[in-house]
Amino acid sequence: MKRNVYIGAAFFALLIALRVGSTVLERRAAAAASGVQAPRFEVDPMWPKPLPNHWLLGMTIGVSVDAQDHIWIIHRGGSLERMENYLAANPPASECCMAAPPVLEFDEEGNLLAHWGGPGQGYDWPVSNHGITVDYKGNVWIGGNGRGAQVAPPTQAAALNESQPGGGPFNDNMVLKFTQDGKFLMQIGHPGQSKGSNDLENLKGPAKMFIDRETNELYVADGYGNHRVIVFDADTGKYKRHWGAYGHKPDDTSLGPYNPDAPPAQQFRNPVHCTELANDGLLYVCDRVNDRIQVFKKDGTFVKEAIIARRTLGDGSVWDIAFSKDPQQKYIFLADGSNEKVYIMLRDTLEILTSFGDGGRQPGEFYAVHSIATDSKGNLFTTETYRGQRVQKFVYKGMAPVTKKDQGVVWPKKAS
């Protein structure tokens, strides 16, 4: 009996100790949480589901999320290696594999819903497609950065370099507008017709587009050959305005290689790689090789800039950005395909809070992370070019205190 009393007393003492301990720790956690916080993500290694028909993705060069939270990607079937296209040979050389059609639509669970794309009547499909944007009316916009002529069907092997696709002068001097079913609606610009950064009718390797729902204007990051942002009416394609770095008139004079110790370049380097308009009317532009974001008003007035990973050479650090889905769009997610990470930044100060990712081919790692987009639930989607050639989903796991500058690979773990 006495033994039972001792056991009971010990039991209750332990319970009380745990209760007191957890209360103290909770208070500490609350105090820590009032410090710097940032969205936390975990890779979903099961997303997307396997593609049907022995299809493979090539350089996956754009991602966008529509109003239904469907995920759209565009990739280059022509960038696959010879053996990856054996099924497309005539007769087939093996049971596997072949390039998937260029445009693919997935649902949130990673099921493939639809696919289309490629050359057709009435428009000029890019030699090397680049960037995809689904606008507020549900239309799908596509750019391109190919050089030379359209010589190869998408399923034929043609190892294209992401930065300098093909050879010769730029072919892809246009953006294309389609319905979600792949029906052609409009083309702005014509292949091989660009007269440079002040040509009002043609583009030159347009990398990415954004459509402003307030004004129905199309903003184009132009691009791989030009050094500007250019704005058109999204219904008629009529030219509105354009500008270069710091709001200057763009100039095509060669700037030479990027030097991190030199004063900031007064013009965009190639490629001008993204253009994203925030809810408050500020336009964010990726000046990729100059390792910087520049911010403008809608009329092209320069507001501010931020240098990201200044010492990054070669392909540069500022590849693509996406905003968080809160109404204030408090955070920017910046894909850096050279340093193989995604930075989480404050939009108002352009300060980097933390980053995640690392180089590699396993889930949560990156090889040339090229494009990034968010869905309405705050999840992130990334695509990878060069030999990365995939799309990944990073599940939003709520806000968390910032404890590390570089989080590394964000494997699934306990949600806090």
């Binding site: 956690a29 820590a32 289309w116 773990k413």
Partner: protein, 482 residues
């Protein structure tokens, strides 16, 4: 330009299987009926957003559906397929009548309400966010329309409809039968009910959910959940195999009472805890639980083969595994709790009652069958080993398969933060309380239930015990300790 997606994904098949008959029927209908002026494809996925708000003598039903789901209606177009917004109103009303108003039944208490009045219809952009709340949606549907010259492609817009039903009182208990499954191959309806007390009750269902009681009485919710629990256990092969393992050595309801009660109490604890969001939020948690359930089957089967199982030992182990199975039940229940109305706890308990009724039915069938099997087909000890080995084999394969899925999520120790430690302490407290309860029951059980004493020292497998009918069940001469 769009091609169908050819896929052999079993997940996709499972997801769409319940709708295959609907799809087949609709496809046949399209083939048999004379072609309408416009025959659009059946959309794969359709999401319907809806608000139900009774106010005074009217009930407003606000709906948003993709226009592409309104088949066989000709919408005036211009250019490459842009909706002619100046001339579209009549077509939108026709579509709203045929595909929405006529397909939905609303009940005031148990009286079906007459056909509604279509107050307003309009085409909206897919990216329009006004259906985030009832007030915004109402203002949108009764406010300015898209400008007539806007270029919107016809199948990339939404149809917004405001329906109005006459009602007796906004305090009535309303039910709705949304027959919207025919809008697509897979139709998800997200419905929010806004009763006059200011609460917002959210529902989400796939296909045709039948009659949905928006504010069920406790007994209506309870009945629904009893049925759900009953059929869930009958449909859950892994739970049934676990039960089968429990029965093989204890073929007596009396002997099984402490074991099954322990299982019930344990799975009720974790099921209720999950419903109140206490369960861990790991991506890998569901595969972990599924693997543990398979392991529980393997363990029980192996224990049957090894023998020497006492009631006392088995109810304690069953309690532990019951905690695991409770999480498994909670995954099945996750989507259904929305139908509990304001009776969450009673609905959970009802689900458990349903599970127990299902288990009881299985026991009533299994016990006599096993007795007959052991009496006429094979010696008891041999039969126990054979049956348990078969179950262990199945359980083993499940365990390997599910373990493989679990291995996709390598374990990473959580960072040692104050929040993590506090959470760990909460879990320790829970475990401690449970352990205390188990200790108390184990300590005092034999005083109240002497049948739970360990087996008489009879060697295992030495002959077949005689069987006598006792009470409602059957038991062996040795007290079931076989």
């Amino acid at each position: 330009m769009v091609s169908p997606v050819f896929t052999s994904s079993s997940a996709v098949f499972r997801r769409t299987a319940p709708h295959l008959w609907t799809a087949a029927f609709l496809a046949a209908l399209v083939l048999v009926l004379p072609q309408a002026a416009v025959a659009h494809d059946i959309p794969n996925d359709v999401t319907v957003q809806a608000f139900v708000k009774p106010a005074g003598e009217h009930l407003n039903l606000l709906l948003r559906v993709p226009l592409k789901a309104m088949r066989d209606t000709e919408f005036p177009e211009r250019g490459p397929g842009y909706l002619d917004l100046a001339r579209v109103d009549a077509s939108l009303r026709e579509a709203a009548t045929v595909w929405i108003a006529n397909a939905i039944e609303v009940y005031d208490d148990d009286s079906k309400l007459p056909n509604p009045q279509i107050v307003d219809v309009r085409a909206s952009l897919e990216s329009d966010k006004s259906f985030a709340s009832y007030d915004e949606a109402f203002a949108h549907v009764t406010g300015p329309r898209l400008q007539n010259d806007a270029q919107v492609y016809w199948n990339q817009v939404m149809l917004d409809v405001l329906l109005e039903y006459p009602i007796r009182s906004d305090r009535s208990r309303f039910s709705i039968h949304p027959g919207l499954a025919r809008l697509g191959l897979q139709v998800i309806t997200a419905l929010r009910f806004l009763p006059p007390d200011g609460a917002v009750r959210a529902f989400e269902f796939a296909g045709d959910p039948g009659l949905v009681r928006l504010d069920p009485r406790w007994h209506q919710a309870a009945l629904r959940f009893v049925k759900l629990g009953f059929f869930h256990i009958l449909d859950g092969t892994d739970h049934l195999l676990f039960l089968f393992c429990l029965v093989i050595p204890f073929r007596s309801l009396r002997k099984l009472i402490p074991v099954v009660t322990s299982f019930t109490v344990a799975h009720s604890i974790t099921l209720i805890a999950s419903a109140y969001n206490v369960a861990p939020d790991f991506l890998w948690f569901p595969p972990l639980i599924e693997t543990l359930i398979a392991m529980s089957i393997v363990y029980m089967a192996l224990e049957n083969i090894v023998g020497g199982i006492g009631v006392q030992r088995r109810w304690m182990i069953t309690f532990g595994f019951g905690l695991v199975h409770g999480f498994g039940f909670s995954f099945a229940l996750r989507q259904t709790l929305q139908f509990a109305g304001s009776h969450l706890l009673s609905s959970l308990l009802s689900f458990n009652i349903g599970v127990e009724l299902g288990q009881l039915l299985v026991l009533m069938l299994l016990i006599p069958l096993l007795h007959v099997f052991f009496r006429f087909a094979v010696a008891e000890r041999t039969g126990t080993i054979i049956l348990s080995a078969l179950v262990a084999h199945t359980g083993w394969h499940w365990m390997i398969d599910r373990g493989e899925r679990l291995r996709q999520f390598p374990f990473v120790w959580p960072a040692l933060t104050a929040a993590t430690l506090a959470s760990a302490m909460h879990w320790l407290m829970g475990i401690l309380i449970l352990a205390g309860l188990v200790w108390c029951v184990a300590k005092y059980w034999p005083l109240k239930f002497p049948l739970g004493q360990p087996s008489p020292r009879r060697p295992l497998g030495t002959g077949t015990p005689q069987v006598h009918a006792v009470g409602h069940g059957l038991e062996t001469e040795t007290g079931g300790e076989i």
